[in-house]
Symmetry: C2
Subunit: 302 residues, 2 copies
């Protein structure tokens, strides 16, 4: 599991900071999460192949999370993309994108499939052979969802010493990896657990931005491997958090602790701060395993 | 008169090239022309004060000319702007901007005044004490206008030697600058032309992008001081120009020659080319006074 932060600052894009966008890869399946203005340039700078993006998840319709989407869709068209593109986001996202295509008289030559979200309960919105994606209803000024990416359990691993000790036909290896008991060449039952090891534990990633401190998300993200939780403010501006429906670094860390996250990544920093170190210091007073999101940074969780 | 090119490449924004946007200053009056994605960052990089932008002119609703507008409007709101903002552009521009403000539940605290254009004839769309702005109907795939900025004639200059030779009260200097004849302290008529010199010749700037080669614009831009004319293609790709309703460098130069422009600036280069020199070389086979538009470049025409 690999996460690349394309942008993790709030509000306005500036020369050296970018609004929210990130790329999550799970076993070579790639997901783009949010798409602030300039995301397509950030994708280029970080050498993400455009053709690999097939699913885009938009948390909410504030500009710093989606003003780059229409440009990316338009660039895909200019690059003569043919692959379907799925977009998951709040109701209204289809209208605003198609209105702009209509005004420009520029329709995509690939299929653009919108999955508009309206539920205020967590729901499964995507599933393939590797990943499930659930919404995480958040508490912000407009309708907002975080997203939980759950890797499915992988195959069991063959214990080759044990396997070779038995008289097992190679044709059965696949069945063993899938967890089945089998018969050996003499017709004896071979218990799966005696010749295989458990799969690598599956990982999960929760993206929670933008949101006020909100314990309702805890049951959804319990035991998550990596939690990205917004931390717009430091304690000295903590009084602004409830009013703007954002969180402080300490609130992000409290959520990480209460949901028993493996690691917390901070982000969505207000552009009023010059340095990020204080975000980490404040969060670590509550929860130890804190990483700072930074534009252009890649985190490997394997 | 000063022109800053924020971006002058066609189609998709890339790490080192920006879509169309430019800032024109005429006697301290500032105009933003087009607003591709990333324009607000380009404004910051080029140290243009956001508060000085009061009038934005959008040629057409293709993304590389206006996808940055909604973000700029939104940033003005975050910076607690209070000054009115006037936007001139094709019909539909108001709907698409207001839809995005509605979906984000983020309305501006300043007045946003749309001037939607529908005419296919040149019309006066802006006038103050210094500048007039006329549309230049262009020939593109969607409804498109160029813009002609005409500096108004300035005041006459006092010929101080001649003035001091006469018995003229200082109170009359202002009247002389405005071109009037006056009476001296003894009641004699002083002809204006005998004590003043003509004003500095007024300048004009024509922005023509995007467009196919189109001689219909010639009477509107006759004798223009500076012409910015798109040159998407070199001759080797000239067959693409009519099909996509764009121009070649030679076509841009032909328009410059036929309208008797003082200077031609090229731009809107296709991103397929690595170097810009050939654009200049090809244009100069037709018209000599050619400058290359480049992102971040400022031209002074005083």
């Amino acid at each position: 599991m690999k996460l690349t932060i394309l942008g993790c600052y709030s509000a306005t894009p500036r020369a050296n900071t970018n609004p929210t966008a990130q790329v999550l890869e799970i076993r070579n399946h790639m997901f783009l999460i949010d798409c602030g203005e300039g995301t397509q340039v950030q994708l280029r700078k970080n050498r993400v192949k455009f053709a690999r993006i097939k699913h885009i998840f938009i948390s909410h319709l504030h500009g710093d999370h989606f003003f780059g989407l229409v440009g990316l869709i338009s660039t895909f068209r200019l690059l003569t993309r043919e692959t379907d593109l799925h977009i998951y986001g709040p109701k209204g996202i289809k209208e605003v994108i198609t209105l702009q295509m209509k005004l420009a008289d520029s329709w995509t030559n690939y299929r653009l499939i919108f999955h508009e979200l309206t539920s205020t309960e967590s729901e499964l919105i995507f599933e393939d052979d590797v990943v499930q994606v659930y919404t995480i209803p958040l508490d912000h000024r407009v309708y907002t969802n975080g997203f939980l990416f759950k890797e499915k359990e992988g195959e069991r691993k063959l214990d080759m010493n044990a396997v070779l000790n038995e008289d097992i036909d190679v044709a059965y290896y696949r069945k063993l990896k899938l967890g089945h008991d089998i018969l050996d060449n003499k017709g004896n039952l071979i218990k799966n657990s005696s010749v295989t090891k458990p799969p690598v534990p599956s990982k999960s990633y929760a993206f929670c931005s933008d949101t006020a401190y909100n314990e309702k998300m805890l049951p959804i993200i319990e035991d998550v491997t990596v939690l990205y939780h917004e931390s717009t403010f430091l304690e000295k501006h903590g009084h602004l958090a409830p009013r703007t429906k954002h969180s402080t670094a300490i609130e992000a860390a409290t959520i990480a602790k209460k949901c028993n996250a493996g690691t917390l990544i901070l982000g969505h920093y207000s552009t009023r701060y010059d340095s990020l170190n204080e975000f980490k210091e404040e969060a670590q007073t509550v929860f130890n395993k804190v990483l700072l999101g930074e534009d252009g940074k890649t985190f490997n969780f394997d």
